[in-house]
Symmetry: C2
DNA sequence: AGTGGTTATGTTATTAAATAACACGGACGT
DNA sequence: ACGTCCGTGTTATTTAATAACATAACCACT
């Protein structure tokens, strides 16, 4: 994130995620799924978890190494992997990625459809449950359309930015 | 569109829009709104209306002039305008644009939230009504989030591509 | 008609985002 | 050890979008 189309207080722009716990859980999930949480994948997830809000791929690229940047394919591959594992979500309308609020885990491997409230102003995102997408599914079924993935993104202003 | 990750029949990839009627209606809408449907805007809308499915900005750019390509800002500005007028929708997950199925008109100026069923295979899109977004609005309200725009995109396979 | 404000376009250049293609290397089962 | 699969490293290219600034058209008012 980091946009600030305003001058007001943004002290609410802080999320508290237990990064270490998330990384451990991710490791366990991968092992259980027969996948490998390799170094670039781990590093990418770590950066996204530590970032305050949705993170651009090129921000990951820039901060990948302490010294210099990573090569784009390294990061894009990791992002694809993490998304497929249900650990992060891609925000289509922002070209950005954010850690899932309720990530897949050992007991619960699934990649779920998420909805986001995305603040225009501070860039903060809130992941909410997607209700009634059954309606979309229903219409799709009527049309013979097989739904694989639904993107729901609500853009606007968050409480403190209004 | 035009992707064809398959070899089967795509004769369903044809839409029938009365382009002239749409252009006339758009002209009337703009007049009524105190806006101007200028040449680049008209041309851009015409191309999108004539295209079979969501169209990339750079495809508009390439086909803008009979001779050569247009300059990107020319087209991007027109696209923004058309979107704001409720004549086209941007498909975030495809970086593409499609004519609205039920565009704003003289009687009914609004830009509505749309949902799309996007076929992975043939690239065709179907615009459907978005039901129950009230749920999202409701959750947002609870969080004090002011929703300005909701993106809903369902990706998968259409009837004939399954 | 002239004038000034506003809106839209033309143009050049740059930035941002994502992928193609291919070589290399490590993990793993046999 | 061998071959296969999967993931990575690397180079280059493609695709998407915007910044910045100059010019021109439109409009309202004099
Ligand atoms: Zn999630
Ligand atoms: Zn905010
Ligand atoms: Zn529409
Ligand atoms: Zn199809």
């Amino acid at each position: 994130m980091t946009q600030h189309a305003c001058d007001h207080d943004h002290s609410h722009d802080t999320t508290t995620i237990n990064v270490d716990a998330r990384l451990k859980a991710a490791e366990a999930l991968c092992v259980a799924s027969g996948e490998r949480l390799t170094a670039p994948r781990l590093r990418t997830y770590e950066l996204i978890l530590g970032n305050n809000g949705p993170m651009k791929a090129y921000d990951v690229i820039d901060r990948f190494h302490p010294e210099g940047a990573a090569k784009p394919p390294t990061v894009y591959r990791a992002l694809s992997f993490l998304e497929q594992m249900g650990l992060i979500h891609r925000i289509e309308s922002l070209n950005a990625f954010v850690a899932c609020a309720t990530p897949a885990n050992v007991d619960h491997h699934h990649t779920h459809t998420a909805a986001f409230l995305l603040c225009d102003c501070c860039g903060q995102s809130e992941e909410i449950a997607t209700l009634s997408l059954a309606d979309i599914e229903h219409q799709a079924q009527h049309l013979g359309f097989e739904v694989k993935h639904i993107t729901v993104e609500a853009k606007g202003r968050c409480k403190t930015c209004r």
